[in-house]
Symmetry: D2
Subunit: 358 residues, 4 copies
């Protein structure tokens, strides 16, 4: 299952050390002007080697479009694209060939397919998310026309937690720091923590918060296509994701109904809104028109620069000496991926919603 | 979108105060003996009026099968079923007709469809989950043949939290208390808390933990059908769900990779397992063979027995005086629903996996 | 796979001699007034026992709606419905229990599922088409609002062929004769032929022609969802269907391009049309705005009132003495089914088309 | 909708004069050895410029695989591939830019998308079938392991009709003549006819017959996934296809049930077969184990080398002077495309069938 979405659909392909990563975007509305520089810029936000706190694998990650766009506009036909893999150092993985790296997908791919491409994790590599970022960038371009804006940021790294709610932050400053946290003080702490972890040869996880503004009321398909379930599914499909919550999420369980029910009122523009937004912009699986916000938990990167005991395919105990180039913390690069997935879901649901009324 | 699943698929219908709730189960393997008493028993676990801590709406909720089963066995053809609605008191909802209840789906359904059935929440009512429990019960019957076992329980109610991990609990005792918490001390505290909340006319949320044992390694479809993403999607589609996490989940972000990586070893039966299971039985979106465990957060029931200010369809401010019969806490009835959704996902993924190898 | 359609979707269930036939219509636009009498009338057009040339199985075939319609209007939620089976004479089938009837699905169902309901053909019975007619009737109601009209008729019975093109016929008279052929002379010949065949204890096939008027230009999804491919798929899914062609179809292969190319011109209303319509209203898989017409071939009913040699499940040669009540010719009852399937496809494609432009 | 199939799925992209045609094959079983020369050979069978009776557009049509195959074997991951467009002569189409060519998809694409790539028909070009042939070739490789064989051939060109049934022909000789008709006498007549038509600057249609041998009993998904409906849908999705029939098809309607019912018997190998095979190897939508055969009608190529009156986008009447390079008859190149689509359907249904029994 390498296709995502219902109407706006991304099908992706590619292994870490294969020829290319790529995909096909199907169902994009026709007649949309495509700014290829914007798409490349989005890719640049996820690419490796951006700063000292990301992996040093140096990939240009240039996207090439092969179809679906003519004279700068979408035609309604599928948009095929590829991003060549160039900086593969497959030899880095020779000594992994037979090994099940702890908390990697080596073992499970082998169990499932009886065969696997060990080089760089093959299909399980986060390089696969390149296709998502391209798909998401196209979705963002369409959403811009609908005045829907998606901004994600790093809200926690290891124990370093940004406590301020998104409403207190200047979300335009997300990219101001390499960690993509819009609170300068927290950003500095996070970066310092990552540096320290990196020096230890270790890795750390964190949380991305995402805010979607301008989403009109009415998006979301009950019963089995609730908007937050689609978002959750999308986020949990990102490598290393371990949890998803929206609105008050897990914290909300300790409140009483009377404390967190969102009461409706008539806004000054005549529309109906809610006074609070503990629901996170979704009620009954359908958007309320209030901002949607959610959080995604990412585990620490599994590849560490420390020796680990594990087994090989024959079940023999071995000591794994890590090599290769890896991120100490996936968070800054996860931010554009979270945004991309959110963009694809929201556009898909916007398009699905067009058939609700005749 | 009222269909769930890829191969094993449930399509459901029904409003709270309509004629019936029902569904069609498609893709169930042929030749499976169906124990209808078991299915009814599962329904009884979710039905209202089980104890003082659930709603007093009294529905027999008897399932009637209309097709797909012949001489006690599935035939591979679709299994149609209905559960009649009997104890509707639509007049309870007359005074809601025009009102947007806080944190309910009244407003969003109206925005989406421009029309809605206000009686008992219509399609957004949790009565819809009846169809899920029937579908899940059929899935459980099939999973039993595969030695796959799913057990959920209440692990938190408001601030009352069961701290012991599932490995410390006797999961066979889940149904011993009306709150469905297998730790008697915590169960008692939870029940006491719900009683108090109920007296206040208020409601409270909580967390369900679910454990799936016996799942073979290899289930899960990378990239866009990761097993935990499918589980997350399923759980988030349940009414009032606000969050999903598996393995260490959100808590895991504060650890270092070296602390929580699951190292492989050769088990005494010759198979390869992991020494720890922080991953929650899934790596790279594919099951490892270790137990899968996850947690689902549910918000407090939106209907409270207290006056609330809100607006009606005309945008006029009104005071809502709650009536009707409602659960102070959805948790005990959510437990069988979580199990049902997990069962459908696991069976679906088991069946999908059959085509991976020729 | 018991679900049909992409946005407007019918999921059906039911065996010939089970409790009921039924289905769930999902994705019907909200706010549509539903005329239940019209739906029942459509069902009456397909029901058995309408005339001497159809089977004498006498079923009231009353449809009961269980959800999705409130105060006479669709709500956007799934429409569940059932039609009880009443006049089953399962004992008629006792002597078939073990037998593979020639050109029936007994053998193939057994091979596929290793189990089958032998009574009346089980799921392979044409009673299953009841659900299609209900789904199609709902689709027709929606299409009426869009001024899209679908009319089918019997154009051939055995060797008796109606040679006049549909443009020469008064399509309002289809139901004037029990054979549903709008040409009185041909109708009379067809009926006489069926009577004769029936006396012989034999059966006969035929062709249904269908015309869809008012379909706007632009419906159809290249590449793998061409409008005629969707119609062909729909028609070929009807019991006993053996072929589908649209426009000039098979006959067209003998012409030269210069003879049958449809040239465009500007119509008096300013729109662009084609002078001829050999294409059958579809070019490149997308509707042109001209009438769509196609033909569906149905084989003779497999159940004949003559002895036939065949084998039983053990592979033993036996002589089958036919019993039961059967149609000598399926054509008149196929007409409303063809219309129903066409209606569902056209509405589905109309709704799909809404997302092509932003 | 540019995705085909349920489990074995092809998603394709590409316009005639864009950068490339390509696709992604998803759901191919893992561990299958891929013979790339075979795939290229299949592509060569459909490529232009093979003989005097096909178009002179000269494209190397070399396929490049970008993922999914490692050390010569499929890994279960998606197989991305591209075929570069090289011999585009877009200037040939400059004078078409604004014109609706008769019986082409120019008008309908424009109506649907409000934008189109006029060069070579854009997405509606038959170059799109390149992706199908690659997908089909991969499917054929898998089917070979299952001993399933698919052979198509040209059985009619304009009025020249091959009357002998497939059982009388030596199907190994299909490729012996450029028209791909295994009867030398008919082949010669067909070629002569095409030559004459070409000289006239005209085009002609025809029929492809396809035979599938070795298909096990039990494939096919009632009710809405009947095997012949899936095949029909697949064939009708090919450019210029106007009709599909299987078994006796349209001709069968004139027979009586007693004449064409296929009686079962026990074969010498102990299996149950049918004495005749008028059903075409499918009963009730499920394969019987007998050979499947069907026929597909193709209309004459719409582009002719004669002046045609039509209109432009402004609705002005103009005379179209044809240029460019085109096939006088699509049949010989349609043969491998029919085979490819049949192969993908059969493999898909084989894989789907794996979940019918536990």
């Amino acid at each position: 299952m390498n296709t995502f979405g219902n109407i706006f659909r991304l099908t992706s392909f590619g292994e870490s050390h294969g020829e290319a990563i790529g995909g096909i975007i199907d169902g994009c509305p026709a007649g949309i002007e495509i700014n290829k520089e914007f798409i490349q810029k989005e890719l640049d936000r996820r690419k490796p080697g951006q700063s000292e706190i990301t992996t040093s694998r140096d990939e240009p990650d240039k996207v090439e479009f092969l179809s679906g766009i003519y004279e700068g506009k979408t035609m309604g036909t599928p948009i095929g694209f590829t991003v060549k893999n160039r900086n593969q150092q497959s030899s880095d993985y020779e000594h992994y060939k037979n090994v099940y790296r702890p908390s990697h997908a080596d073992f499970t791919y082998r169990e499932k397919y009886l065969i696997r491409d060990h080089r760089g994790g093959g299909r399980s590599s986060a390089r696969e998310t390149i296709a998502r970022v391209v798909g998401g960038a196209v979705a963002k371009i369409v959403l811009q026309k609908l005045k829907i804006k998606i901004i994600a940021y790093t809200s926690q790294v290891g124990p370093v937690r940004l406590e301020r709610p998104y409403t207190d932050l200047d979300l335009k400053t997300v990219d101001a720091t390499p960690i993509r946290c819009p609170d300068p003080v927290s950003a500095e702490k996070m970066i310092r923590y990552i540096r320290q972890i990196k020096e230890e040869g270790d890795t750390v996880g964190g949380i991305v918060t995402c805010v979607c503004e301008g989403v009109p009321a009415g998006l979301g398909e009950p019963v089995f296509g609730k908007l937050h379930a689609a978002l959750g599914n999308a986020m949990l499909s990102i490598n290393a994701a371990k949890g998803f919550e929206y609105g008050l999420g897990f914290d909300g369980v300790q409140y009483k109904g009377s404390e967190i029910n969102d009461r409706f009122y008539r806004r000054s523009d005549g529309k109906i809104g809610t006074i609070t937004n503990h629901s996170g912009g979704i009620q009954g699986g359908i958007s309320t028109g209030e901002p949607i916000y959610f959080r995604v938990a990412f585990k620490p990167v599994a590849t560490i620069m420390k020796d680990q005991q594990t087994v090989n395919e024959e079940g023999e105990t071995i000591i794994l000496h890590a090599k290769g180039r890896h991120d100490p913390c996936v968070l800054p690069r996860a931010v554009p991926i979270v945004e991309a997935m959110a963009a694809m879901v929201l556009l898909d649901y916007y398009l699905m919603n067009k058939s609700v009324l005749l």
